[in-house]
């Protein structure tokens, strides 16, 4: 340690060199960021592509051409069955792939592109509903009749009341962009009147979410920083230390993102949490440094620059580096997550923490070197110092924290009650990746989505992939009947707005071949008939449509359910309902699997939850191990994790009780428990240990620790909470949750450390389980410093 002190002391004597180096590095980072600052908004990029569920889904998506669709709803105040509206539907259907390269040619589904399978007097026809919009009233009524008698479009592409029509356009993977969305909106606006045009669909919701979240965070970040600066100024009463604090968090963040840029790691939406973590943690390091320096100055008013630097470093290198290294390793545990962006988050947050530690250890001594020891504004220094000492003594006499220290049972009971309540709440934590839930209820996106969900099948889709053990199985009546039965039963759920499968084709063909008699609206009763219908359909229609529901070998079928909600929790219940058919299908040699974007989001959410809990548990173990090594005591290793445990439990408990769903952003907030909890625990234990070694009695050491470390902890919590409280006023609901949860985590970490941890330490100490152990490993060097 002595060598590090010498080294840092030497460095502080070269302020120009150090500042130039820092400035150059920071400029380099900022330049790299400026060049690479493109946010990865494609959610597919978050998915672990090697996971079996994803591999299967991707394959099924390719097989059946399953793509996320943009939904364009055109609504007329009276009826869409008029020449102008029908012409607009035709126009949009034709123009979309021409105007927008994102939209795949031939992927449009609308009343204009749909095939109408009918039986006329003279035979079977598969023809469009209309090519040129009819103008005569009789023709319009005839078209309406055609639509209403064909359940393959009625209620699907035209609303049952005839006032709205839907145009579906498939997007190539990851081709949604802000420009595309804006162009599409402009195009829709051009065509509006008297109709209203709505644009909805999963790509819009996901794209807007990925864009708006970070944008809102960017807008809020400066406000967070300004507010935090004000609070720091008020608390620290030092412009110099406030500025250093800001430099630490800003450069720490720049370093994390700069390194991402240099290593060509894309920036994901979850990475907006990196600055959040680095601000909370960086400010903690700064405040502890500030506290130590001012403490030393007060104890020794005439201390020289050199002495001050040395003593500060001697007192702080150990706790600051221990805290930083432990936090960094705790974050690094996130690389066990199956989700790539979460791994990167852990890695680069850890790097940022280390950079912040180095900066805190260099910049404060450097400031002393350049600007001298912190000056007091008071003219009569001695008087001031007397006053301060007196104040401290008075403070000690008042025995700060006595309410805590003297009532261990009450505090313990309270803490136990809160923890128990939080544990109950934790069990209620629900995972939800409803993207839509992230928007304000009165936002355009939500209104559009509600409209489409009211008039049509739904904006989200679940694909059920049925795979048979041999070819041609899906021509068999028993298989088709079961498929039809399951489809009908599941569609009865109110949240399911529609469904589509081979069974629909079969029923339609059967009915049409029997003059559309309702009793023939069933699946064909023999395999031959099914095969011949399929052949007939291929001979007379557009075989591409069939490729969406059945594969070439009639072995794998795709059943699509349209859902009126994009909540993964809703999808999970539907999946569970579908799974009740597992055995019946298994008896026919058919397995049920799932596919599609919505399903992948669900699997993703599960992985996220599992991963987060696993990494959190791992971090917890790592932190306990490191603390054990650092303090050479298993007991302290365990005790030291109290603030982390309490914070994590209360965090999840509050989420459960308030119904905040676990999402990629909220899941990562619990990591703050590690970063801050470790920091608080180490500083508290270290400070207390040193006081005890200096000869303080247990109670006095506790009071003194609460005055000094306690103050630093409270300052840190207050500054970070105050800053992030701004997010509560964000227009973006998930950012409000982030703000609220960070404030909560800071408060709980601080409270947990200053009450429970403090009490447990003194309790252990009273039983001789604390100092006895620590004495064994004290190195003379430390002892010497502590006694000065």
């Amino acid at each position: 340690m002595q060598r590090i002190i010498i080294w840092i002391t030497w460095i502080t004597k070269k302020p120009v060199l150090v500042l130039t180096a820092i400035l150059l590095l920071t400029t380099a980072f900022v330049l790299v960021i400026a060049e690479n600052a493109s946010l990865e908004t494609d959610l597919e990029a978050y998915m672990p592509s090697t996971h079996p569920a994803f591999i299967f889904s991707d394959d099924a998506e390719e097989l059946f051409g399953i793509e996320d669709s943009i939904l364009i709803a055109i609504s007329h105040p009276e009826t869409i069955y008029n020449e102008e509206t029908l012409a607009k539907i035709a126009r949009i259907s034709t123009e979309l792939p021409e105007r927008f390269e994102e939209i795949e040619a031939g992927s449009i589904t609308s009343l204009h592109t749909a095939d109408n399978i009918t039986s006329s007097d003279w035979g079977l026809e598969v023809e469009p509903f209309y090519t040129n919009a009819p103008s005569k009233e009789t023709e319009l009524q005839e078209l309406r009749k055609k639509v209403e008698s064909n359940e393959m479009v009625y209620g699907r592409t035209v609303s049952t009341d005839g006032t709205a029509a839907l145009i579906l356009a498939e997007l190539g993977e990851g081709s949604f962009s802000e420009t595309f969305y804006n162009d599409l909106k402009a195009y829709a606006a051009e065509l509006e009147g008297p109709e209203t045009i709505y644009i909805a669909g999963q790509p819009v919701v996901e794209g807007e979410l990925a864009r708006l979240g970070p944008r809102d965070m960017m807008l809020m970040a400066p406000i967070v920083l300004v507010l935090m600066t004000i609070i720091l100024l008020l608390l620290l009463r030092s412009i110099r230390d406030t500025i250093i604090n800001l430099i630490i968090v800003l450069i720490g963040t720049a370093a994390a993102f700069g390194l991402m840029g240099i290593l060509k790691v894309p920036i994901y939406a979850v990475d907006t949490m990196i600055p959040v973590m680095l601000i909370a943690i960086g400010v903690a390091y700064g405040i502890h440094m500030h506290n130590a320096i001012h403490h030393l100055v007060r104890e020794e008013p005439r201390i020289t620059k050199q002495q001050l630097i040395e003593k500060t470093l001697q007192a702080m290198i150990r706790p600051v580096s221990m805290a930083a290294v432990t936090t960094a390793i705790g974050f690094t545990a996130l690389i066990t997550s199956q989700i790539l962006p979460v791994r990167y988050f852990g890695l680069f947050a850890a790097l940022g923490v280390i950079v912040e530690m180095i900066l805190a250890l260099i910049l404060f001594p450097l400031a002393i070197q350049v600007l001298g020891p912190p000056k007091k504004t008071h003219e009569k220094e001695d008087e001031y110092l007397d006053e301060v000492t007196k104040k401290d003594q008075q403070l000690m006499q008042r025995r700060p924290g006595r309410r805590i220290l003297d009532h261990p049972i009450i505090v313990g009971t309270l803490a136990a009650l809160i923890t128990a309540a939080a544990l109950v709440g934790s069990s209620k934590v629900w995972i939800d990746t409803s993207f839509l839930a992230n928007f304000q209820k009165d936002s355009d996106i939500v209104r559009t989505d509600t409209f489409v969900n009211t008039y049509f099948g739904g904006t989200s889709a679940l694909n059920v992939i049925l795979t048979a053990d041999k070819n041609d199985r899906f021509k068999d009546p028993e298989v088709l009947t079961l498929l039809d039965t399951m489809q009908k039963t599941i569609t009865e759920a109110p949240v399911v707005g529609g469904s589509f499968s081979l069974a629909d084709f079969m029923r339609r063909m059967n009915s049409v071949m029997h003059e559309e008699q309702e009793e023939w609206n069933t699946v064909p009763e023999s395999r031959e008939l099914a095969a011949q219908y399929l052949l007939l359909y291929e001979m007379s229609g557009d075989p591409e449509t069939l490729n969406r529901v059945i594969d070439y070998d009639y072995r794998t079928a795709n059943l699509t359910f349209q859902l009126k909600s994009d909540s993964s929790a809703v999808m999970q219940t539907i999946i569970n309902d579908i799974k009740t058919y597992t055995e019946e299908f298994a008896n026919l040699g058919i397995t049920i699997q799932f596919a599609g974007g919505g399903y992948k989001a669900l699997v993703f959410a599960d992985l996220l939850m599992e991963g987060q809990i696993a990494s959190l548990a791992l971090s917890f173990v790592i932190v306990a191990l490191l603390l054990t090594l650092l303090f050479r005591s298993i007991l302290i290793g365990i005790v030291g994790t109290i603030p982390i445990a309490v914070t994590a439990v209360v965090n999840f408990g509050t989420m459960g009780l308030l119904g905040i769903p676990l999402s990629s952003a909220t899941a990562l907030i619990s990591s703050i428990a590690i970063g801050i909890g470790v920091d608080y625990a180490i500083h508290l234990i270290e400070h207390y240990r040193i006081r005890r070694l200096e000869g303080y009695a247990i109670q006095d050491a506790a009071h003194e620790t609460l005055i000094h470390t306690g103050r630093a902890i409270l300052y840190n919590a207050a500054a970070v909470m105050g800053g992030f409280a701004v997010l509560l006023f964000s227009v973006f609901p998930p950012n409000r949750q982030v703000g609220g949860l960070i404030a909560l985590n800071m408060a709980v970490s601080a409270a947990g450390t200053l009450t429970v941890l403090m009490l447990v330490i003194t309790a252990l100490d009273k039983r001789g389980r604390f100092l006895k152990i620590t004495k064994d490993y004290l190195d003379p060097e430390n002892l010497e410093i502590s006694k000065t």
Partner: protein
């Protein structure tokens, strides 16, 4: 952006061709394609077809069909009846078509044995897929040369045959292709290869004739493959046991026969 370049290229080729080897000839592109269209195909024909459709994932659908054709040039009518022999679940499904040379649209019927009913089916678009394959009705030889404009690009040796390369551009802009190139064997008037280009000038489909032979004096394409380069699917049609000498009765091409099945 690409279009002018290709146009220019085509123009240069065309003018070079006009100025060069073909300058002395009187044969026009239209004449070449007329020759191909009117190449004698016999008054009757019996053939066994095997159609193999392979999709981008390598899955295949095989269909075996027995086909009879009768042509009455005087009446301007061609009748075809096809009986599916495989796969088993569509055996005896039959397909009847009457096509007219006077521009009337085709009439088509289908008989489903499982339903015991004959259904007339709409003729649809000639650019529609033929039996769900990569061939369209146009590709099956039903496109009249007058629907396109044709120019001869060059003559070249293709697979040992002296071929005229004809470029055809549709007159109707709604056609899915902007142009096609055909390799036609000189004086035999049989095509050996055809390339289809879309609006942006990209090659989207190719037709390769892998086996063409004379049977009873008529040209028969024994093996051809259409490849859709975008869908990455192929359709191979093989024709076996071709016979032009059978005398076929008009009563074979009726709804009644569709139900009875192929004659013994």
């Amino acid at each position: 952006m690409k279009k002018p370049g290709i146009l220019l290229f085509a123009l240069i080729l065309a003018s070079a061709a006009a100025a060069g080897t073909l300058a002395a000839r009187t044969l026009t592109g239209m004449e070449v394609m007329e020759h191909v269209y009117t190449r004698p195909t016999g008054d009757t024909m019996y053939a066994e077809l095997i159609m193999t459709i392979t999709n981008s994932r390598g899955s295949t659908r095989d269909r075996s069909i027995t086909q009879y054709r009768i042509s009455d040039d005087a009446a301007g009518i061609e009748k075809k009846i096809m009986f599916f022999t495989a796969p088993a679940d569509v055996r005896n499904t039959s397909f009847l078509s009457w096509s007219y040379t006077d521009g009337r649209s085709n009439e088509q019927w289908m008989y489903l044995p499982a339903l015991r009913r004959v259904k007339r089916i709409a003729a649809g678009n000639t650019s529609d897929s033929f039996m769900g394959s990569d061939f369209t009705y146009d590709d099956m030889g039903e496109r009249h040369p007058s629907e396109d404009t044709h120019i001869i690009l060059r003559e070249e040796l293709y697979e040992g045959s002296n071929c005229i390369v004809v470029e055809s551009r549709p007159k109707d802009s709604s056609c899915p292709y902007s142009r096609t190139l055909s390799w036609v064997v000189k004086d035999e008037w049989i095509g050996l290869k055809k390339e289809y280009y879309d609006d942006s000038g990209k090659l989207v489909k190719t037709l390769n004739i892998d086996d063409a032979k004379r049977v009873d004096g008529y040209w028969v394409i024994g093996d051809m493959t259409m490849s859709d380069l975008q869908k990455k699917s192929t359709t191979r049609i093989r024709m076996e046991n071709v016979n032009f000498s059978r005398s076929l009765d008009d009563s074979l091409f009726t709804e009644r026969q569709m139900k009875i099945g192929p004659p013994r």
